[in-house]
């Protein structure tokens, strides 16, 4: 069993280092890699091999999750280009975006307070639409190597991700 942990996720999945990704090829390669390295293949092997299989399969899962998610993929591309996305430290966002966030939060809070699952589901669909648009924008910025602007798009998407989680939690709280 040999595996090069220094390979990039793109390299491991035989994909070009681009935001656009061939999802079918990604899925097929994922299954191929796990079929080869999954710990189940080494369940009767020596401890050292079991441990290695665990580490490799963990890496394959990490790479797959990163490449599958547009936000994680964009962040990873920036990281490969040496650009920090500063998601935890840089909170300076454009004014119009922050206004939009406030409106989102109000709408979610309102639907949450009235336990209105339908309204929450509608917000979820709407949010999905806005997120899709932002992801497309991130892709375009990365293609043009506008990394600073792409980093802003990543930070925006992080906000959207939090809103999505909040809606999900609110729906769960209302349903269950």
């Amino acid at each position: 069993m040999s595996f090069d942990f220094s390979r990039s996720h793109f390299d491991l999945f035989a994909q070009p280092e681009l935001f656009q990704i061939d999802r079918a090829a990604l899925d097929a390669r994922y299954r191929e890699l796990q079929a080869q390295y999954h710990p189940d293949r080494y369940a009767s092997a020596a401890d050292i091999e079991k441990r290695l299989a665990l580490q490799i399969a963990t890496r394959i899962n990490e790479a797959y999750q990163t490449l599958k998610s547009p936000l994680a993929r964009g962040r990873y591309l920036l990281q490969l280009s040496g650009v920090e996305t500063q998601e935890e430290t840089n909170t300076a966002m454009p004014m119009d975006f922050l206004m939009g966030q406030m409106e989102w939060r109000e709408a979610i809070a309102e639907a949450k307070a009235s336990q209105n699952v339908e309204a929450l589901e509608r917000l979820n669909v709407e949010l999905r639409g806005e997120t899709d648009a932002l992801e497309a924008e991130l892709g375009a910025l990365l293609d043009r190597a506008q990394y600073e602007d792409a980093a802003i798009a990543v930070r925006k998407l992080r906000f959207m991700e939090k809103l999505d989680a909040e809606i999900g939690n609110a729906i769960e709280a209302a349903l269950f």
């Binding site: 189940d40 369940a43 009767s44 665990l54 899962n61 990490e62 729906i171 769960e172």
Partner: protein, 617 residues
């Protein structure tokens, strides 16, 4: 015997040699063992041709009895007959505040214990006794030593419950190839039998646990998309509802443990009868000669248990949401677990999915059969045509942050194995320690999640505030078990620990182990070995002390002193970190108590002959 054993089981067999591997369904109510024989999976029967082994263990001073024989004793000796022990795995006293159990519990950190005539038993030991019986059955039937076993667990089991199950298997002398989620095992058996392709839901309502998993089946790949459930909901709860109904109808309260057990048994029989009939009669004669004679209709039964059926629907919805699917995407729903035989459960599932559920496999056996198929693959008996199984972690893992909140590090339904790291830093100049609290669950507050481990990282070199960079890494392996390691990035000081909160290891001990490994940079294998040695030592100390308390008069002062000495030495070693010393001293105590054990056996036999109840003495 040690000299005859030339190789570790399952490790060095020649290629292409068939290795004996089994799948074990360690159920709340019944357990099964299955294996693959000439290409097809079969459940192994006992000498009387019965495949189901009741998950019941009876303890007396003289011996341990498992299965049907133990079940036969449950009405006459309920306190020493342990049923549904799975519900206590990895659970504390506060978790199982169930009024209708006839047991005497001892609250221990992490996991409760049960007081029996055979000594104080942890649920791990009771489960190990069940597993031992199945192992013996398999070895007798297959004619050789087992190379390994796949043990199934409810998909919704948390880390403590999984760890406890693995410990029980190891205690029973089984080489655990894998812990396999029950619905996933069922999906393997169903999927391979029917060459199924598409998205399937496995609805698994067992004796004590409920799981739902959504799987994507495509050419040789079983991929779990989402799982949910309730690890404290099962057929037992339906029995309990009937039991409460009986009390109410008969105007009873304050029953003794015999009557509690009797009525619970009658309740279970009534539930089973109502699967086939619209009406059943319940009769029982209580110890105070009061006779109960009632009729329970299927309509009443369904009304008093409707909320339990409803409780299974929410996890199904949650799993669908997590998988981002709707009922329209589901190709088929497979029912697993004896409790799915209840007509109203059947109907509720059919209504929810708008299609009749699939029931062409025996719901009692399908999990064991799937586990056997997977065991066959893991033992290396299959060729190139084997399959790939991608499972997930059922509950999110997180760390405590400021204000008693939980920050999720690994979200639920992440494909395993998985790892995630989180960086921490110091917030005071010269700070050399950092508290880490690991939790599992979906809620925001620490108090609403299950605490898996709490430890302090010590030995951080003094630096200015914010300079240290401590990376805490979570690793979840293919069994769904968590280990946590920490490394100070600038100095490379490392520590790692298998999270083992279930029993034997208190928070203090975890902290000590961690400090120790920080100092020695030892790896987690050492910690694991030590933890296992501790468990064994603790079990023996418990057993010895219980025996001394009940039969100490069999020993003279010198003999008693010798045993006390050995216990003292072993207790002292428990505070240390040397697994080899622990093992040696455990063996020494075992040796020192042999004569004592023989005398206790004699006494028990004599008491038995005198026609007295051993348990009452």
């Amino acid at each position: 015997m040690a000299l005859l054993q030339i190789s570790e089981p399952g490790m060095s067999a020649a290629p292409h040699q068939h290795r004996l591997a089994v799948g074990i369904d360690l159920g709340t109510t019944n357990s099964l063992v299955a294996t693959v024989r000439s290409g097809s999976a079969v459940c192994l029967p006992d000498q009387h041709g019965r495949t189901l082994l009741p998950s019941v263990v009876h303890y007396s001073t003289a011996r341990v009895v498992v299965g049907h024989e133990a079940q036969a004793k449950q009405n006459q000796d309920p306190a020493n007959t342990v049923v549904s022990v799975k519900r206590f795995m990895g659970r504390g006293l506060a978790d199982v505040a169930d009024a209708a159990t006839p047991y005497r519990f001892v609250d221990e950190p992490g996991m409760l214990k049960l007081v029996t005539a055979g000594g104080v038993k942890s649920p791990v030991q009771v489960s190990a006794d069940i597993l031992r019986a199945l192992k013996a059955r398999a070895e007798e039937s297959l004619g050789g030593e087992l190379a390994g076993a796949v043990i199934t667990v409810p998909a919704y089991f948390d880390d403590a419950q999984r760890q406890a199950t693995k410990d029980a298997a190891q205690l029973a002398g089984l080489n655990v190839l894998r812990l396999l989620n029950e619905p996933t095992a069922a999906a393997i058996a169903y999927g391979l039998d029917n060459a199924a392709e598409g998205t399937y839901v496995i609805y698994d309502l067992g004796g004590g646990t409920f799981d739902v998993s959504i799987l994507e089946l495509t050419r040789g790949v079983f991929e779990v998309r989402a799982t949910s459930g309730d690890s404290q909901l099962g057929g037992d709860d339906f029995d309990h509802r009937v039991y409460c109904w009986l009390l109410e109808q008969a105007g009873l309260s304050q029953l003794n443990e015999h009557d509690v057990r009797l009525l619970l048994t009658r309740a279970r029989e009534a539930k089973e009868a109502l699967t086939e009939h619209d009406l059943t009669r319940i009769t029982a004669k209580l110890s105070n000669e009061v006779v109960i004679d009632l009729e329970l209709s299927s309509a009443t039964f369904q009304a008093i248990t409707a909320h339990l059926v409803q409780k299974t629907i929410n996890p199904v919805r949650r799993a669908l949401r997590d998988a981002r699917l709707t009922v329209a995407d589901i190709k088929g729903v497979v029912l697993v677990g004896g409790a799915t035989r209840m007509p109203h459960v059947h109907r509720a599932v059919g209504e929810l999915f708008g299609q009749p559920p699939l029931t062409n496999l025996d719901p009692d056996k399908v999990v064991a059969l799937g586990a056997a198929m997977q065991a066959d693959v893991l033992a290396g008996n299959k060729g190139d045509d084997d399959w790939l199984l991608l499972d997930v972690i059922p509950l999110s893992l997180g760390l405590e942050t400021m204000g008693g909140l939980v920050e999720k590090i690994i979200p639920r339904n992440s494909t395993i194995p998985t790892a995630r790291a989180q960086d921490f830093t110091t917030f005071k100049d010269g700070q050399t320690a950092l508290a880490v609290h690991v939790l599992q669950g979906e809620r925001e507050l620490v108090t609403d999640c299950r605490s898996l481990a709490r430890f302090e990282l010590r030995g951080i070199p003094p630096m200015v505030a914010g300079a240290a960079r401590i990376r805490v890494s979570f690793q979840v392996d293919a069994d769904g078990l968590l280990s946590v390691s920490a490394r100070e990035q600038s100095t490379g000081i490392a520590a790692s620990i298998a999270v083992k909160p279930s029993y034997g290891l208190g928070d203090d001990e975890i902290a000590r182990m961690l400090q120790d490994s920080l100092r020695h940079a030892g790896d987690d294998m050492e910690a694991r070995k030590l933890a296992e040695a501790r468990v064994e030592a603790e079990a023996l100390i418990d057993a010895s002390q219980a025996a001394l308390a009940s039969d100490g008069d069999l020993l003279d002062a010198a003999e008693r002193g010798a045993i006390d000495d050995q216990i003292e030495r072993l207790l002292a070693a428990m505070a240390g970190h040397d697994a080899d010393v622990l093992r040696e001293l455990t063996e020494a105590l075992n040796h020192a108590t042999q004569e004592f054990a023989a005398r206790r056996m004699d006494r028990a036999v004599k008491r038995g002959l005198a026609g007295q109840k051993i348990e009452e003495l």
